[in-house]
């Protein structure tokens, strides 16, 4: 199950529905660059519940046909130029949600149920623009009580970066238990990790609470600093200089192409 990053991204085919976490949970950026190098097409990205530079790069490189999330944000480096450009040129389809609705859709998938009810949302314009959400009456209320129902979101693949994995295919995600939901909601999960360990993580009682079992995992690539240039909660801080450089270059299509050339196509995989 321990494979190279190029083998890992081979498992992400054209048209895959690919779920990725929010930046604070750990982003597999090196795998994302490998995905662009491989020339993947027509991804349906689900940003759980938001996405950032990862989706910005994939969109800019023409790998994405649908972007489903509650935001694409580069944080203090906003606005995201290639995302904005793609919207302007209508080269991607948007499914705009709100954060808990992304979670609700994934949880429905995790639980094998067709939908989940969710409070809020009624009166927001995202409701009328969403292709699937419905309003129903709460069957347990005597008074009329409308509530939104969110259908299951079923990703083909979840992809993220984590601190540790063992030789049996278990992955330590620590306090980022949201990744457990992401993995369980997806058909399979691909992970890059900072470090491989030789002992079984599930057998260590202090680690076990933060372990994603190998049952859910389809492939692991050892990739130290695999979240660069983004912040990793269990590793390096973000590379602010690089992100500023990105922001500057990606303003134009030419600049973005130069960026891809230098940092994606010519960079060796770790």
């Amino acid at each position: 199950m321990n494979i190279s990053i190029e083998e890992l991204v081979k498992m992400i085919g054209d048209g895959a529905k690919l779920a990725v976490p929010a930046d604070y949970s750990g982003i597999a950026m090196e795998a994302t660059r490998a995905l662009i190098r491989k020339g993947v097409k027509d991804l349906h990205i689900v940003g759980v519940p938001t996405s950032g530079l990862q989706s910005e790069l994939l969109i800019g490189a023409g790998c994405v046909s649908t972007f489903e999330s509650s935001a694409l944000t580069l944080g203090e480096y906003n606005p995201a130029p290639r995302f904005s450009h793609a919207i302007k040129e209508k080269t991607i389809r948007l499914i705009d949600a709100t954060r808990p609705a992304i979670h609700a859709g994934l949880q429905a998938s995790q639980k094998g149920i067709p939908f989940m009810p969710l409070r809020g949302i009624i009166g927001s314009d995202i409701l009328q623009h969403h292709p699937e959400w419905q309003i129903m009456d709460n069957p347990f209320s005597e008074d009329k009580d409308p509530i939104v129902v969110i259908p299951a979101i079923k990703p083909d693949i979840a992809l993220f970066h984590a601190p540790l994995a063992d030789r049996d295919g278990n992955v330590w995600i620590g306090r980022r238990r949201e990744l457990m939901h992401l993995a369980q909601a997806s058909k399979t999960t691909l992970v890059t990790v900072e470090k491989m360990v030789d002992t079984n993580l599930l057998e260590d009682e202090t680690m076990a609470a933060g372990v994603l079992s190998s049952l859910y995992v389809g492939g692991i690539a050892h990739c130290p600093k695999g979240s660069w240039p983004l912040d990793f909660w269990y590793g390096d801080k973000e590379d602010g200089d690089h992100l500023r450089e990105y922001k500057e270059k990606a303003r134009t299509e030419e600049g973005f192409d130069e960026y891809l050339q230098e940092f994606v196509y010519e960079s060796a995989s770790s």
Binding site: L72, R99, S124
Partner: protein, 247 residues
């Protein structure tokens, strides 16, 4: 007043609004509210719990933002902050973009959790430093989250007030409008009227926003600043002149 002085005053102002809270949650890129929550916890012992999303310290969630949303629905979050590229006089907020969806120009990041949290957290403080007719509009182009809802819609939360660089408005739920509560010392009623794109209630004698308590300000600049630096290093450097990398 310098910009950094104003930021510190806003922090103190917000801290005072959080005194009656047990648990305050703050977004990852909201340094002023985040600093205010940390200050209030230090100064008043309440809020007892402060969760800053995306932070490792100052965050006890072990299930990411899912736990935030569940927690809000459980009634366990007392205050939160929302902003918006546009905010209107009914406290509707727009985080999606200017113009008609989906062809917004510009398109902003997206609605985040606003369409949910605005319904479920009792004290949502709208915070946007820029006070202009560009931001404070008569009617938002896209309702990411509505300020008020019909009676039959389940809603336990909503807007408490709107704080900008120039003033603080209280939201009046029954009247569905804002009341100008105080004007910051760098502004005036005329300035507010000139730069606000929506109708609001006000009195000719609207008081000035009280200057921050000097002890509170001192606590911020001495004890709390290190905690702010941990979470918002860039902001701390700009506002308090601290080089996060060297201290």
């Amino acid at each position: 007043m310098t910009e950094t002085t104003l930021k510190k005053e806003l922090i103190c102002f917000i801290a005072n609004l959080l005194k009656d809270c047990n648990h305050v949650a703050v977004g990852a890129s909201s340094p002023i509210p985040g600093a205010a929550a940390l200050l209030a916890r230090e100064a008043f012992g309440s809020p007892r719990h402060v969760n800053i999303l995306g932070s490792v310290k100052n965050n006890f969630f072990t299930n990411g933002s899912q736990e935030l949303f569940d927690c809000a629905a459980q009634g366990r979050i007392d205050a939160f902050f929302l902003g918006g590229g546009q905010i209107d006089g009914q406290a509707n907020i727009n985080l999606m973009g200017r113009g008609a969806y989906p062809d917004n120009t510009p398109r902003w990041p997206g609605t985040f959790g606003s369409a949910y949290l605005y319904f479920l957290i009792p004290k949502v403080i709208l915070f946007r430093e820029e006070h202009s007719r560009r931001v404070l509009v008569d009617r938002v182009d896209f309702i990411s989250a509505p300020g008020v809802s019909d009676e039959n819609i389940y809603r336990t939360g909503g807007p408490y007030g709107l704080l900008t660089n120039k003033a603080f408005f209280r939201f009046q739920k029954e009247k569905r409008n804002f009341l100008l509560e105080s004007i910051h010392s760098n502004s005036s009623l005329e300035d507010i009227l000139d730069n606000t794109g929506f109708e609001f209630e006000y009195s000719q004698n609207t008081p000035l926003t009280a200057a921050p308590n000097p002890q509170l300000l001192e606590l911020l600049e001495t004890h709390v600043v290190d905690k702010v630096k941990d979470v918002y290093p860039h902001f701390a450097q700009e506002t308090f002149g601290i080089d996060a990398a060297c201290s």
